[in-house]
Symmetry: C2
Subunit: 144 residues, 2 copies
DNA sequence: ATAATAATGGATATTTTTGTCTTTTTTTTA
DNA sequence: TAAAAAAAAGACAAAAATATCCATTATTAT
């Protein structure tokens, strides 16, 4: 469904967000070990998220990653997925035609567009904060 | 959503099925050009489908690919997707945890499982024959 | 039997995705 | 001001997915 990079990106954001809620910055090491991802690869993904103002980073001792409250209050799954995996999952044809097109639809178009728009709706309506809550209460997990 | 191989596999099956309904066998060349896919790669995918009795092949002049009526009458999208892409789309965790697990769910589990089961339901309920009909009536397309 | 046709099978190549390693830059504390 | 800590950046490596090539096998028609 999502690329590995995107999966790591989502998990990293949820973890960093949880810590940010408690005013803690986290290092790359902490992120990678908390979400069970390869450190250097995770670093690239975090860089990408930082360059696009989804995550904030501070260098030096006491530095680390965080998500500022004003960003966190708006951040949704869709922002992360769109940044990392692009809009294929929203707009792409299920059978890989150049463009999904009502006028020249592929055979699965009508069935596929329903699923696709439900996925879109789900990603756009799910806030990272809502996921943080459940994680914080020990109801969900980022590893295993 | 699906791999390229799976997209080609689905399109190939729909095209071959359409021809089989009219008692025509089709060559690899015809398949590849009709669905706009790389010939040799498509060959591998068709081999895979043949080995698993989803498509039939006959060698020699007059040979080619076909889908026998008894198979076509049962064939659904899910059969093709499951064969080529496996069950990740049905059972896999949206965040890539080892196994999707009600007891140890990831943060997106509850939202994700809804989409996933709708996709599953759609794939399992959609017959290739129903897609052939629309293609045949010029309502849908396999290229562009 | 022979030639022609069409799929098969195996090896190889390319591209994309995923993952690693090393050096540089920035910031903080001593 | 020097040392340590942490991310940034760039080059490189490995693995997986996608794609191509060529020789072989099976079938049909002549
Ligand atoms: S044209 Fe294929 S999904 Fe719309
Ligand atoms: S545990 Fe992640 S989708 Fe079920």
């Amino acid at each position: 469904m999502f690329s590995k990079a995107c999966e790591y990106g989502i998990k990293a954001c949820i973890f960093i967000a949880e810590q940010s809620v408690n005013n803690r910055r986290v290092s790359l090491k902490e992120v990678a070990s908390s979400i069970d991802s390869p450190e250097a690869y995770t670093s690239k993904i975090l860089q990408h998220l930082c360059q696009n103002n989804i995550v904030r980073s501070d260098k030096g001792p006491l530095g680390g990653f965080s998500i500022p409250a004003p960003i966190l209050s708006h951040l949704r799954l869709s922002n992360i997925v769109y940044l990392i995996d692009g809009d294929d999952i929203y707009k792409g044809c299920g059978l890989g035609l150049k463009r999904c097109n009502e006028k020249l639809p592929c055979p699965v178009h009508n069935k596929f567009k329903v699923i696709r728009s439900e996925l879109k709706e789900m990603l756009e309506s799910t806030t990272i904060l809502s996921l943080v809550d459940k994680l914080h209460n020990g109801l969900t997990f980022l590893k295993r």
